[in-house]
């Protein structure tokens, strides 16, 4: 079927919640330092430099300060604003606590940023029948456990849930029931659609479109002609259709890296130095992701595209370049490399531990 379906291709309406923490960084600062409460607080860089506002408390927003504004401008608009340098380590910890709360409802959690996540609660761990009730419980958990407030939007898809969460900030809860989608969208300004910036807004204004309802009246072909491929997406969104699933964060199952040689290699020293580069590159990528794996796989391609792999499993996961290289050299001994030319070499690490290094306890 090539035509867009009039309804999402589900036998049921999904229940998607978008959780958006209110003025997250600034709220964490106010929570942890009572002297900041009730004050205009801006989190971010130095006004002397080119720092920008990473977050502004609602008290600061009253002065027209918003995130991404140059800090210099912000301090000019509200000289008595208190500037706090961003402490992302702490925000990450609070964010991890937020995720813990969300995972109690479902494993279908898609973090978007430290302060923002989608959940699909259609089938949830607590068998809560209504998205609205789940959202209310989550908000209460966040308030009680994190002493912070969040705004929530509930809808049949991510697009509607996100718009809904933004409507009654702070501490809001807006539900878009499947039957009320069209009413909900009719008067909504097009700029509320994520991805519709100033340029698109003006383009749409040229054809007298200012609301999502008006956007829905424009034939899809015309939107595509004016906006390109995005036009088709906007057309679907204007009717409240968004099939994008809530995708939980997943680690890759294997990290690998390979290199093809312009002329086939026969020399052991050359192969070793190619493996060394691969091992070191792989080690760096593993470490950046905090991964380390127990299985090392070597891939060798001979002239004529015949490809063989050899792997070795060790009891402990590895992320270090030198041991990976040593093992790769052991593995290449088990191939015909050298006796036959080598067109490509690859190394892959898999079977990740996935957990942080930890001292084990006799009594646990």
């Amino acid at each position: 079927m090539t035509l867009p379906a009039p309804e999402p291709p589900h036998h049921y309406h999904r229940k998607v919640i978008h959780i958006d923490m209110d003025a997250f960084y600034a709220s964490v600062e106010q929570r942890d330092d009572p002297s900041l409460r009730g004050q205009p607080v801006v989190v971010g860089g130095d006004p002397e430099g080119r720092g920008v506002v990473a977050a502004a408390s609602y008290e600061a927003r009253a002065f027209g300060i918003h995130s991404a504004m140059p800090m210099k401008t912000a301090m000019r608009q509200c000289p008595r604003a208190i500037r706090v340098p961003a402490d992302f380590g702490r925000y990450r910890r609070v964010s991890a606590e937020l995720h813990e709360i969300l995972y109690q409802y479902t494993d279908l959690v898609e973090p978007v940023a430290l302060d923002e996540a989608y959940l699909d609660v259609t089938f949830n761990k607590l068998d809560i029948p209504f998205g609205q009730r789940a959202a209310r419980m989550i908000k209460a958990d966040i308030r009680r456990q994190l002493r912070l407030t969040a705004s929530a939007g509930v809808g049949p898809n991510k697009f509607l849930a996100k718009i809904a969460s933004d409507l009654k900030k702070p501490d809001g809860l807006v539900v878009v029931a499947p039957g009320a989608v069209h009413d909900f969208l009719r008067e909504l300004p097009v700029a509320k659609i994520s991805g519709v910036g100033e340029v698109t807004r003006l383009r749409l204004l040229e054809i007298a479109v200012t609301t999502v309802g008006e956007l829905g009246q424009v034939p899809e072909e015309e939107l595509v002609r004016r906006l390109g491929k995005r036009g088709a997406r906007l057309h679907r969104l204007s009717m409240g259709i968004d099939d994008d699933p809530v995708t939980p964060e997943r680690e890759p199952k294997q990290l690998s890296s390979e290199t093809t040689f312009t002329t086939d290699l026969y020399d052991a020293g050359e192969m070793r130095s190619a493996l060394k580069q691969l091992a070191e590159g792989l080690s760096g990528r593993l470490r950046r992701r905090g991964l380390s794996g127990r299985v090392l796989t070597l891939k060798v391609r001979y002239p004529g595209f015949e490809t063989v792999t050899r792997s070795q499993t060790r009891p402990l996961p590895e992320d270090r370049g030198a041991p990976l290289l040593r093992r790769a050299c052991e593995l290449i001994e088990r191939t015909d490399a050298g006796r036959r030319g080598v067109r490509l070499l690859g190394l892959g690490v898999s079977s990740f531990g996935g957990e942080e290094s930890r001292q084990l306890d006799l009594f646990e």
Binding site: L291, P315, A322, G353
Partner: protein
């Protein structure tokens, strides 16, 4: 009170009990020393309520008496005073310390007067407590050195985690077969068992000794004093060293059932020279993470390979040592600091290790042990990760 005392004697007495003075006293009186003069002895006592110490030094007492005075002030004065005979007198409600500033003529004179506080309410060490008593005899199987060795080999493994209070002390068990001390923080465990020591009465009991007590006892036993007796009561323990007594509160038990965590069936046996393994472990740990101190030990036929890598420093270390090992290849990660602590206690000679897999404690013991002595350590691996 009126007496004369050699400065060195007085200092030795103060220094003995000073560690028992509370650093943050629950009551002001506990920042003082109790001073008692009677017969030919000057007795000094200090207490932080958990640990109390008393010692006496020889003095020429003209008028007996007792008072208390600021421990820190008295200690600083006496420590700085040159060798001389000091006079200690209570005059007009003050403790007056005076004497020449050195031996021989022309050294000058010093005189210090210090405020005193009534000794009323100062916690006193009783002459005896209820409980199982052990008598020690110098030069026998059951002497001060045994206690000192047992503390030294075990107490380093005591837990500092206050959420498991029983592990914050050294278990001391005595019974008809002998005695044992055990300490563990969950990551490692130390047990020293001595059989064939017999004591009068033959009671059986178990107490948990606070680490402050163990360190004071060790310190005292380094000196000339010898243990005469120990009495293990329900809530406190009293050690008598002749001129010095230590009374300590005990940590409330019961202790963990540590016997059940000693692994059985560790069949991968390794024998390695401590004088090789310890320095190698020290060097390789230089490139371990300063947070986890993780070093990996890979065992293959008659080989021990140690590796570590540090993202902070940006480097890797690898050493290969000869050893006796005939079992299957095995690779296990450990906290190198814990490993080093244990190897240091093995001193020289060979270490025997029994391992099983990446998640089971290794048993480490010296290859040579004296008769009746059984010392072993358990070391839990680290679960390695990213």
């Amino acid at each position: 009170m009126k007496l004369t005392v050699d400065r060195s004697e007085l200092w030795r007495g103060i220094d003995t009990v000073l560690d028992a003075v509370a650093s943050k006293p629950a009551q002001p009186l506990l920042s003082n020393l109790l001073i008692e003069a009677e017969g030919d002895r000057l007795t000094l006592s200090a207490s932080d309520l958990d640990l109390s110490m008393r010692t006496s030094v020889s003095a020429a007492v003209a008028v007996p008496g007792r008072t208390t005075v600021s421990a820190r002030t008295l200690a600083e004065i006496v420590r700085e005073w040159p060798e001389a005979e000091l006079s200690v007198v209570i005059e007009d409600g003050q403790l007056v310390l005076s004497g020449s500033l050195g031996t021989g003529g022309g050294s000058g004179e010093g005189r210090y007067s210090l405020a005193v506080a009534s000794p009323e309410g100062f916690p006193e060490i009783p002459e005896s407590v209820e409980g199982v008593s052990i008598r020690f005899e110098s030069g026998s199987d059951l002497d001060s050195q045994l206690i000192r060795t047992m503390i030294d080999k075990t107490s380093f493994a005591v837990s500092k985690d206050e959420t498991r209070p029983v592990l914050n002390g050294v278990l001391w068990g005595i019974g008809p077969e002998g005695m044992a001390m055990v300490a563990t923080d969950g990551s490692r465990l130390a047990e020293f068992r001595q059989s064939g020591v017999f004591f009068e009465g033959g009671g059986t009991t178990e107490v948990i000794l606070p680490p402050q007590l163990c360190s004071q006892l060790s310190k005292l036993l380094e000196g000339p004093e010898e243990l005469i007796s120990a009495t293990l009561g329900n809530s406190r323990v009293l050690f008598d060293l002749g001129h010095t007594q230590i009374l300590s509160r005990l940590i409330e038990g019961p202790y963990v059932d540590y016997g059940q965590v000693v692994p059985k069936g560790n069949e991968n046996k390794l024998t390695v020279d401590v004088e090789r393994l310890l320095p190698a472990m020290r060097r390789v740990s230089i490139l371990s993470s300063s947070y986890t101190h993780q070093v990996r030990m890979s065992l293959s036929r008659d080989n021990v390979e140690l590796t570590a890598s540090s993202q902070e420093v940006g480097g890797e270390a690898r050493e290969i040592l000869p050893a006796t090992y005939a079992a299957d290849a095995l690779e296990v990660a450990y906290n190198s600091q814990f490993f080093i602590d244990i190897l240091r206690k093995l001193e020289s000679g060979e270490a025997e290790m029994e391992l099983k897999d990446t998640a089971t404690a290794a048993i480490v013991r010296p290859a040579q042990q004296s008769e009746g002595q059984e010392l072993y350590y358990l070391l839990m691996p680290m679960r390695p990760g990213g």
